[in-house]
């Protein structure tokens, strides 16, 4: 594993966090070294896992720092805990999915996405943990309609009216509920998935199908006005 680390002391977490990944090593060679070490045994595996964990922790902290506005009120200890939990879960996910790494990107880029996902999901859930989900408005005529110029923005107003009609007549109650929560109330998709006991993918499919229906209904086959 020595060739993977910029430092000669791979178990020294502090050094690893500060050191950028090596960039000169060929992508596939680098990836195969990581895979071999993580599938190895004993000390080699432990060292590789510790090095990877340090990199994941760094990626998780990067993400949490970006989302700090959503973490307002969270102390440093809480944020450190979130970063550590994210790195721990990302490492577990990576170790169980090594077969899915295809050597098409750098191993570290592939690994970082797991840490970013974990940290992003934790941030969104924490930001919404005290908040109730919005209720389906039922009457969509109250759709938030920013004040538009009655003359200049006539086309946008007409399109908005057509969409409201289509929402009320073309969509199922579940599609309306999902559209309302994700688009109007801007509930993060993983937060909504957790509350509804479903998956992010399933919810996005519902949203996608609802959007297709709306587009078809109002004849919006292009991106005009959007």
């Amino acid at each position: 594993m020595g060739n993977l680390a910029a430092s000669g002391r791979p178990t020294n977490v502090r050094v690893m966090e500060e050191a950028p990944p090596v960039r000169s090593v060929d992508r596939e060679v680098e990836g195969r070294r990581w895979i071999a070490a993580l599938r190895g045994a004993g000390a080699e595996r432990e060292v590789a896992a510790a090095m990877l964990h340090a990199l994941l922790l760094r990626a998780a902290r990067f993400e949490l720092h970006r989302r700090r506005a959503a973490l307002a009120g969270a102390g440093r200890e809480t944020i450190d805990d979130l970063a550590m939990q994210s790195a721990d879960d990302a490492l577990s996910a990576i170790l169980s999915k090594l077969d899915s790494y295809r050597f098409e990107s750098r191993f570290t880029t592939w690994a970082y996405k797991f840490a970013i996902l974990e940290a992003a999901v934790r941030t969104r859930r924490r930001a919404w943990e005290q908040r109730e989900l919005p209720i389906d408005p039922q009457d969509w005529s109250g759709l938030p309609a920013p004040a538009l110029d009655p003359v200049e923005d006539v086309e946008i107003r007409e399109r908005m009216r057509a969409i409201v009609r289509a929402i009320q007549t073309e969509l199922s109650p579940h599609q309306r509920e999902v559209l309302s929560a994700l688009v109007i109330a801007e509930v993060p998709i993983d937060v909504l998935a957790e509350r509804l006991g479903t998956t992010r993918g399933a919810l996005y499919k519902t949203l996608h199908d609802a959007r297709r229906k709306l587009r078809t209904s109002i004849g919006a086959d292009d991106d005009a006005l959007t």
């Binding site: 759709l143 110029d149 946008i156 929402i167 587009r215």
Partner: protein
């Protein structure tokens, strides 16, 4: 920004959210599966959207995936100085 322009922008943002992207798009699962390759190709200016058709549309339609994409792109860009 004038109130009218701001209102128009807010309205277009709402319309975009309600109607979503116009073209075919990948799923959230496929987005995650290809995110690392897409970001590296994107930073290298090497045909990311040809390699993963439907990715750009999905990122326009899914705010959560877009956030994660932006974070990974910026992290890798910072590490590599934008040179992949």
């Amino acid at each position: 920004m004038t109130p009218s322009r701001e209102s128009r922008r807010a309205c277009k943002h709402l319309l975009a959210g309600l109607l979503g992207p116009s073209g075919p798009e990948v799923t959230c699962e496929d987005c995650f599966a290809n995110l690392d390759v897409y970001v590296e190709r994107e930073l290298a200016g090497d045909g990311a959207d040809v390699l993963v058709p439907g990715m750009r549309a999905h990122l326009e339609g899914c705010p959560a995936c877009a956030e994660e994409h932006d974070s990974l792109r910026d992290l890798i860009a910072r590490d590599t100085g934008g040179r992949i």
